[in-house]
Subunit: 206 residues, 2 copies
């Protein structure tokens, strides 16, 4: 990285390059871009960033980001409140919402169990999930966690904790993505897509 002609510039480049995927060069481009804009623009950005971290709220039920105590999904009477889909983070909630295929509620864990990163059971919204299963009229919990070692560890732990309740525990289907060629699929996915094959009519009669 070039030596910068100003400490103020250097400072903002250092701060911006902490953003994920942003190197010093891109950070410099951001800083010089902001310098060409009216001062007001950058002040608005700075204020938005501050209010993000100081004012953001999480739904007390599903732990999704929300402007109110209970998020619009949780408070929507049209949603099926007997099914809860457990996800790692709010991006996953948005991805599932985008499909338009799920009408139940969510539960955002805020991560997965990862001893190597120091993330244990108490760092995640696991106790609250169990409380929800105890208190609410939940009939099915769908585990939609990532297929990583950490995701699987979390899946197994949750499955064990939820066994004693009279609910269905399911997990999202893993298989060959629509449009993908079988020959390029990895062996585990292809193997699982055969083991977990579904009756033809189940898919095409919907």
């Amino acid at each position: 990285m070039d030596t910068l002609p100003s400490k103020i510039l250097e400072n903002v480049v250092n701060e911006l390059s902490k953003l994920p995927g942003i190197g010093k060069r891109t950070a410099l481009r951001f800083a010089l871009h902001l310098l060409k804009q009216p001062i007001k623009e950058t002040e608005t950005l700075a204020a938005a960033l501050t209010s993000l971290v100081t004012e953001i709220k999480y739904c007390s039920r599903c732990h999704c980001i929300s402007d109110s105590e209970i998020c619009p999904t949780c408070s929507n009477p049209k949603r099926n409140n007997t099914i809860v889909c457990v996800v790692e983070n709010i991006q996953d909630v948005m991805a599932i919402e985008n499909t338009g295929q799920f009408n139940g509620l969510y539960h955002v864990l805020g991560g997965v169990i990862s001893p190597i990163d120091g993330i244990g059971i108490n760092d995640l919204n696991i106790v609250n999930l169990i409380e929800r299963v105890e208190r609410e009229n939940i009939k099915e919990v769908i585990l939609a966690l990532p297929t990583t070692m950490e995701g699987d560890t979390t899946n197994f732990y949750l499955n064990k904790q939820l066994q004693k309740y009279d609910i269905t525990i399911s997990t999202i289907a893993r298989g060959i993505a629509i449009g993908d060629n079988l020959e390029y699929a990895d062996e585990i996915t292809l193997g699982r897509s055969i083991l977990n094959r579904v009756p033809f009519d189940n898919v095409f009669k919907r």
Copy 2:
């Protein structure tokens, strides 16, 4: 773009996506990343951004970003103050400084003449350049502007304005980049590299 579950989040995503090359999806990733960090981190970033636009200063001589009234390059007695290299912006200054091949001073125009973007002569540091040529002991002005239509327009304008002074006006060499194959070079560059060929000894005896 997915509908976001919070106005505060939406606001910060909108602001971040004004940065060059940043779409809504990356902006969301930044916002969610910041939410996982300690609040202090984001507050430091916001403060750095604000101080960037409110406290940044420009060298009154070369118009490069500087923490002092006169930048370290302009105030360095070891630099050759008879040669001034005219560039579009401070990235160009940093790029030339990185080569270690230039020991003169700079003059940052802050852009190039571009009627289509509403950038005229008075929006650039052109008058100050002519004042410098009049007042300072400048013997050579190197025009190192981009080879775009706007860059060339600016080159021609500056050349015309500087004609009446007893100085050498030069422009940086354009040619085939070191390591590039001739067969893949564009015709204009290759043609110019032949027209502006240099005596072999000039290059290899330095």
